[in-house]
């Protein structure tokens, strides 16, 4: 693979340190890129006539932009940019954690069953929401779909976890297989509900499945942020354990890792954050696979560097994807899930072709 060909036959003792140094450089670059892409995201495209800095600073009494600009920046674009950044970070970190947990560079956050369950929850809310008492419908308003998606995601993760845990030990392999079975089951139930849906519901379903940050509001963001931030906060504490787990569960436990505790924390935090992401943005693919993968190629697999950099790169990628989605078919918008799939699919294939050995490890 690429890194092997870079390494000279009798290299100095420093390269492993070099990887850490490289990770620091990558991190600084990503922090800058994150700042830039957030500003660009607030700008809303090249043709925008909105005074971004004015709108931003007026809020603090430091400038005098029009009320229209302040509203556009703070109430429309800011929640959207924050949502894209937060969801991108969460998906990339969740992907890295799942890949470490399943000891497979191709694992996906959806493996814990959260996507399938969340999909079922969302579909049920869209199609069957009308059957709820009117008072509940009015009270839940726009939150019915995200809330139901989140519940569905968590419920299916808990079911999987129960199935895979026996005598206090959770089998990661069983979880993977049970996930396939549960995915088929929820897929079938989703199919039944979709079959019952009318045309406008079908349209809602399709757009929800494509994923979008266009509907982002502060209220939705506040609802999802605690779970997402919690998982981002927990991730660094899993770094050493994930490194050790690369050698297998028995070896990790010989090295002093409480593997059962670690699996529980990892699975539940990923289910929480991915559930929250799916709830507010729908299905956004490939970020969780491609981002950690690219970083491993550049800076090696040590999780203490991988996890923070994945959070940064994930945020940048989703911010850029959101910009692309706003620009390419302007004035309309492409759902962001389509953009990440169009960009991520070929990148992923390219990685596979270039590094066939990766899928063998």
């Amino acid at each position: 693979m690429a890194l092997a060909s870079i390494a000279p036959p009798f290299p100095s003792a420093r390269q492993s340190g070099d990887r850490r140094a490289r990770a620091r450089v990558v991190r600084i670059g990503l922090i800058v890129a994150l700042g830039l892409s957030m500003v660009l995201g607030l700008g809303g495209g090249a043709a925008s006539d909105t005074d971004v800095w004015g709108g931003l600073l007026t809020k603090f009494g430091l400038a005098t932009a029009s009320a229209r600009d302040v509203t556009i920046i703070w109430d429309i674009r800011m929640p959207r940019v924050m949502t894209a950044a937060l969801v991108g970070a969460a998906l990339a970190v969740a992907g890295a954690v799942m890949q470490g947990l399943f000891r497979n560079p191709l694992a996906d956050p959806g493996l814990v069953g959260v996507s399938a369950g969340a999909g079922l929850g969302a579909v049920a809310a869209i199609v069957l929401g009308g059957l709820l008492p009117l008072a509940v419908q009015v009270a839940s308003g726009a939150y019915l779909v995200p809330f139901s998606a989140f519940l569905g995601g968590w419920a299916s993760t808990l079911v999987l976890y129960r199935i895979a845990t026996r005598g206090g030990r959770t089998s990661v392999a069983t979880m993977l297989l049970a996930g396939i079975a549960l995915g088929a089951l929820t897929g079938a139930i989703t199919g039944i509900i979709v079959y019952k849906a009318d045309d406008s519901q079908l349209r809602d379903l399709t757009f929800w499945g494509m994923g979008s940050v266009a509907g982002a509001t502060w209220a939705k963001l506040w609802a999802a942020a605690p779970l997402i931030l919690a998982s981002l906060f927990v991730a660094p504490f899993l770094a050493r354990a994930l490194d050790a787990l690369a050698l297998g569960e028995a070896v990790a436990s010989h090295m002093g890792i409480d593997t059962q505790m670690m699996k529980r924390v990892a699975i539940l935090s990923v289910a929480g954050s991915v559930g929250a992401c799916v709830a507010i943005t729908g299905g956004i693919g490939f970020v969780g696979i491609v981002v950690p993968h690219l970083l491993r190629l550049v800076q090696g697999p040590e999780h203490r560097n991988l996890l923070p950099n994945a959070a940064l790169l994930g945020a940048v990628v989703l911010l850029l994807a959101d910009m692309v989605s706003r620009v390419v078919v302007a004035p309309a918008e492409l759902p962001i899930g389509i953009v990440t799939a169009i960009l991520g699919g070929p990148v992923f294939m390219w990685i596979l072709l270039k590094n066939r050995s990766l899928s063998d490890v």
Partner: protein, 283 residues
Amino acid sequence: MSETSITASKLRVRFGRHTALNGVDFSAQAGQLTAIVGPNGSGKTTLLRALTGDVAHSGKVWINGRETASLRPVELARLRAVLPQSGSVAFPFTVLELVRLGLTAGLATACPQAQATLPQAALARVGLAGFESRLVQDLSGGERQRVHLARVLVQIWEPVLEGAPRWLFLDEPVSALDIGHQLIVMQLAHDYAQAGGGVVAVMHDLNLTAMFADHVTLLGAGQVRASGAPQEVLTDRDLSACYGCALRTNTPPPFGGTWILPQATGQSPSQSAGLSLGQGSLS
């Protein structure tokens, strides 16, 4: 239970209907290299895995007088390190990154400042100085085995910490090594025991066992056939019966060591094995 020993009583392990270990009592003393020998399928690795808690078993195991089931993973990791027979690494780690993982549990030495240099020292000890930045997946089988040995060494670098011996569990540590590195690794294990630590090694090579072990436990069909000093255990009768072939122990005067030689019987290996197995039930 002694505070400087590994002790196990009445270990029993079943895989489905097959009994892999049938009421094994085992003990190993700190300051000694204890070898577990026996033919394929006799339960050597299963015994090691029961001692390290990797396989469901009945019976109890004590390490330095404390029952292992009552210790947390991190407490155990500070008392003992385990070298598995083979291991895969899921991601492209470099040699140095992998060996550093041995420091996960902390307390490799009493002096925290020394920890940073331990991985390099351990690599030099197993003959892999200069390999730090190579990718583990690109190494040969024997090199990989030594990288893992270095990782295990780093974990419990000081054989005695705060007066308590620490334990190396090695599952066929020399199986993938050439003869020169076999000697290096066995000498290393021997030195670790001489320095006050304990070593429990599953061994296939009877000659290396005779050369380096202080204590030998001979297993056959999931039971202990003999246990004691090498010259007591490595006898023609017990070895031949256990391994199902004619083996002769020699002690040539000039060296004083013990050599085990297979004896050609003029029969094909399968005939010979079948014949000897018939005679081989020790009681």
